[in-house]
């Protein structure tokens, strides 16, 4: 039986209350929006891409603890990575939160979200920021939703 502490781990609560990389990125050259209106989660991801590398990344928005913490940890993880690396991380993350992960993938801090797979209703919260990042990197103009 899943425990609340599997979902609301200290690190998640920490990143919810004090999200990292939160705010505007004036020199951004990629931006995308994500919105899950049924839950009330909104996120805007701004990225400064330099060649193949994510030089800097910020996010803004309002939402539940899971979506906020996920966005915060995402920005920490992908900063400085290449677009390819970010894409791979997205796939591994998505697999983990939907219960398909095998624990062997080194996701570092992101593993704090492994509990989300026990709370299927919240998968969309955890993955919103990542889908939005993907859209930003692809230059998609449409607002993303994971509902």
């Amino acid at each position: 039986m899943s425990d609340l502490s599997d979902l609301y781990q200290e690190m998640i609560l920490d990143h919810y209350k004090a999200p990292r990389n939160f705010g505007a990125l004036p020199e951004a050259n990629r931006v995308a929006h994500g919105d899950n209106p049924l839950c009330g989660d909104k996120v805007a991801v701004t990225v400064k891409v330099d060649g193949d590398r994510i030089r800097d990344i910020r996010f803004k928005g309002a939402g539940c603890a899971i979506s906020t913490a996920s966005a915060s940890l995402m920005t920490e993880t992908v900063k400085g990575k290449t677009r390819q690396e970010a894409q791979e991380l997205f796939e591994k993350f998505h697999k983990m939160v939907t219960g398909g992960g095998n624990g062997g993938d080194d996701l570092g801090k992101l593993e704090v979200f492994s509990g989300v797979s026990e709370f299927p209703v919240r998968v969309k919260c955890a993955s919103l920021a990542w889908h939005t990042l993907k859209a930003a990197l692809e230059g998609s103009k449409e607002t993303v939703s994971t509902e």
């Binding site: 039986m1 609340l4 979902l7 009330g40 909104k42 309002a62 939402g63 539940c64 603890a65 709370f119």
Partner: protein, 415 residues
């Protein structure tokens, strides 16, 4: 000499709960505390049995058959109609149209009553606390016909500002459509006064009673409205069924909503003659099981007495309002003068979604989100709220469990 006092038997909620099989369910190892009744209600055994019995012994297509089963089914169906008519105190069962629910009923009125006479520049009046089902059909009409949608504002407590509503009733207003009770805030609107204001100006009125009929007595003739609707599943009845009350003279003058079988008297390729009311508005084979399940739901409520049920729910509302008022950082959204047993709230520093998940772990079912009332959420400056809504089988202990659950939320979030 002592006067004999006939005291009304106290409301025995334990006994009531025994009538609802699902209440024995355990959720995540804990007893189910079902506080999401504004979304849908649980069903008493008599309703579940009626649906099963229909299929076991009465199932046949209704209205058209000459055989025994068809006669049984038709009788049961029409008896349900009569029951709904009495439930609402309509003058005549012809004034009751069965629909899929309140949403379909509103769409029916929009299409068949308002649309035919709606010209560019005409006005439709609703309020700021409406459910999407009482907003979107009017927006669709507005866009089609270049009409104007006017919205009567609500104050910070969640009461519709009557003076403003009155000002918005103009010579071009073709309908006033208003909720009897707000699903998001619990506000009980003074619909009789609103109908009076509208009728004095010759404006027809549709009242959406989805959140009202389970909790208070509705008398459509006393209200004086032209149309009144509700959904069965919010009234301890099956899903997929609801009713629209419409004054006979209105329904008679309206073109059909959907075309098909049953709503006709005769069909040829050159000319089709529509059936009389209410059948004109019941095309196709209806949700017979739903209608048949609705009758015992109405009877069940009648057996307990709406007064007793209302009083019980009111006690729960008072207890919950008081208890929630003590929770640090909790703000109740919707503090109207008169409320039904619905409490919407926000908790500082915690998103409603997280509140909902943590309460779910305690076996508590509440609703979080915008409650199909996004404009209202915007008006109160919140993206979403958490909502607990009570029904005739909820208990004071469940209120306590909710408060304990909220304490747990504060613990988890360190607020």
């Amino acid at each position: 000499m002592k006067t004999a006092v006939t005291s009304r038997p106290a409301y025995d909620v334990r006994k009531v709960r025994e009538d609802f099989p699902i209440l024995k369910t355990r959720v995540r190892g804990k007893p189910l505390v079902y506080l999401d009744n504004a979304a849908t209600t649980q069903k008493p055994r008599v309703v579940i049995d009626a649906v099963r019995t229909y299929y076991e012994s009465m199932n046949a297509n209704i209205h058209r058959g000459v055989h025994y089963l068809s006669e049984l089914g038709t009788q049961a169906y029409e008896n349900a109609r009569l029951k709904v008519a009495r439930f609402l105190n309509a003058a005549d069962p012809r004034e009751i149209v069965f629909t899929r629910g309140a949403t379909e009923a509103i769409n029916l009125v929009a299409r068949s009553f308002v649309a035919p006479a709606l010209r560019a520049g005409d006005e439709i009046l609703i309020t700021a606390l409406e459910h999407h089902s009482n907003i979107v059909p009017w927006q669709i009409l507005r866009d089609e016909k270049e009409a104007v949608l006017r919205v009567a504002p609500v104050d910070d407590r969640g009461d519709v500002i009557l003076e403003e509503l009155e000002k918005l009733l103009s010579s071009r207003t073709k309908i006033l459509s208003v909720a009897h009770v707000s699903n998001a805030l619990g506000t009980v609107n003074p619909v009789k006064a609103m109908v009076d204001l509208a009728r004095r100006r010759g404006v027809p009125v549709l009242v959406d009673g989805a959140q009202a009929v389970p909790h208070l007595k509705v008398d459509v003739r006393d209200l004086g409205c032209d149309f009144y609707c509700f959904s069965g599943h919010k009234l301890y009845g099956p899903t997929g069924v609801g009713a629209l009350y419409g004054r006979a003279e209105r329904l008679e003058a309206m073109p059909p909503y959907q075309g098909g079988g049953d709503m006709i008297l005769s069909v040829s390729f050159e000319k089709t003659v529509y059936n009389k009311i209410p059948y004109k508005f019941e095309a196709g084979t209806p949700n017979i099981e739903g209608v048949i399940g609705l009758a015992p739901a109405i009877d069940y409520l009648g057996g307990l007495g709406l007064d007793a049920v209302g009083a019980h729910e009111h006690r729960l509302l008072e207890a919950a309002t008081e208890a929630l008022g003590q929770v640090k950082g909790l703000r109740i959204i919707g503090t109207a003068r008169e409320k039904s047993a619905v409490i919407s709230f926000v908790l500082d520093g915690v998103h409603p979604h997280d509140v909902g998940t943590i309460l779910d772990q305690e076996g508590i079912a509440i609703r979080t989100g915008h409650h199909c009332a996004q404009p209202l959420m915007d008006r109160f400056g919140v993206p979403a709220t958490a909502r607990a809504s009570f029904a005739l089988y909820n208990t004071k202990e469940e209120v306590d469990t909710l408060v304990d659950g909220l304490r747990k939320v504060s613990e988890v979030f360190g607020t």
